[in-house]
């Protein structure tokens, strides 16, 4: 079973068209294995990205280097999944 220990979900409140293009470039960056939960579409909408643990430092460096502000909305995805699994087992019983 795939685990998501240390995977983060980050939110970017996009400020400009240039930032949208920089984030769209990230979408094509296959080696970081990013999972866009909300895609970079417009400056009116946030962008949510699940970042695998192994790519967290690379992605944050990229964002900081381009002066793109972000916040972490899920710090460790696996913790939420463990809670969900426990809840399901409880319901099953």
């Amino acid at each position: 079973e795939r685990v998501f220990i240390g995977d983060q979900v980050i939110r970017v409140n996009v400020q400009s068209e240039e930032q949208i293009q920089l984030l769209q470039a990230l979408e094509n960056q296959q080696e970081w294995e990013l999972d866009f939960w909300l895609h970079p579409v417009s400056t009116e909408l946030p962008v949510d990205i699940r970042v695998p643990h192994s790519s967290v430092s690379s992605v944050t460096e990229y964002l900081i280097a381009h002066n793109i502000h972000y916040s972490v909305i899920i710090n460790n995805l696996q913790e939420l999944l463990d809670e969900e699994k426990a809840e399901m087992e409880e319901n099953q019983m």
Binding site: E1, R2, W37, D48, L81, E83, E84
Partner: protein
């Protein structure tokens, strides 16, 4: 395992087998209203079932609702189960729904991506796509909501099999999509097509991303906006989507919902949010269905 629909816990997430089993109990409990139709098999040979709510007639004007085409959006499937039960239990007591079902049928596909849904329970909770193999690639699956024959391969879709939004080798290449296409086309009298997703609490109309190129765009937006206040309309650049296809087919009232699943939890929405989500969604669904009933074309 579920003795009746009454003992089923609608406020919990369930495995595919449990939902399929519950569908049988619903049919058994409301045999004059609900039937289960087998519409084909998935890539991994799982059956695909549609619940048909009908009070009689032959190919009456119908409303289509599918939930969970993106398998990880669990609140969608859970909302579908709650909604199916709501329709069955409210028929005969809710005057508006009763009048609707006396003239129209409702079809519900609760698990639009059964392979993906099973996979989210066993291997990868974040799986979104189908489970079909892509020749020449190690990556599995196609985004089934980029696979419809409407702007196929256009903006918002990827031609990379490893992408979460891979559109597939050709339109309707995914058997799960094709099964729905076959049913809708062979029926020929669907008046509304509603696809239920989850994340950002929105309601979308066809070809939203081209902003106004849809002839009925003013009606689709204006008529709903005033009453479905908790939902906004969004331009979503995603080609190959199901509601674009259904609109092209002539089904005017085509909408896609994005149920609430955002904020702190993402796709891991706690189960205690299922019933609030389903309840608020029902108001919007019912409003659209009433509009469809009252504005025939």
């Amino acid at each position: 395992n579920e003795f009746s629909t009454r003992s089923f816990n609608f406020g919990a997430y369930h495995r595919l087998e449990t939902i399929y089993s519950w569908m049988d109990t619903l049919v058994a409990q409301y045999p004059k209203l609900v039937t289960k139709q087998d519409i084909g098999r998935s890539y991994e040979n799982r059956p695909m079932y549609v619940l048909k709510f009908s009070t009689g007639g032959n190919k009456r004007p119908a409303i289509w609702i599918d939930t969970g085409i993106h398998s990880r959006e669990w609140v969608s499937q859970a909302t579908g189960v709650w909604t199916a039960n709501k329709i069955a239990t409210d028929y005969g007591t809710d005057a508006s729904l009763t009048s609707l079902l006396n003239t129209m049928d409702i079809y519900m596909l609760l698990l639009a991506n059964p392979d993906g849904y099973a996979y989210t329970h066993s291997n990868d909770r974040m799986w979104r796509k189908t489970r079909s193999k892509n020749p020449g690639s190690v990556c599995i699956g196609v985004d089934p909501n980029r696979n419809w024959d409407a702007g196929f391969g256009g903006p918002g879709a990827s031609n990379n099999p490893c992408s979460e939004s891979y559109h597939g080798p050709s339109a309707h290449s995914e058997i799960e999509v094709k099964n729905v296409v076959n049913l809708i086309e062979s029926h020929g009298n669907f008046k509304s097509f509603i696809s239920v997703h989850a994340y950002s609490q929105l309601l979308m109309y066809p070809y939203g991303y081209s902003c106004g190129s849809v002839p009925h765009q003013p009606e689709l937006v204006r008529k709903e906006k005033h009453t479905v206040e908790s939902h906004l309309f969004l331009s979503d650049p995603a080609s190959g989507g199901s509601i674009d296809w259904s609109y092209n087919l002539g089904i005017k009232y085509s909408f896609a919902f994005e149920l609430r699943d955002t904020g702190r939890y993402g796709f891991i929405l706690p189960a205690n949010q299922i019933i609030p989500t389903a309840t608020e969604t029902w108001l919007a669904l019912k409003h659209i269905m009433e509009y469809v009933r009252d504005h025939p074309y």
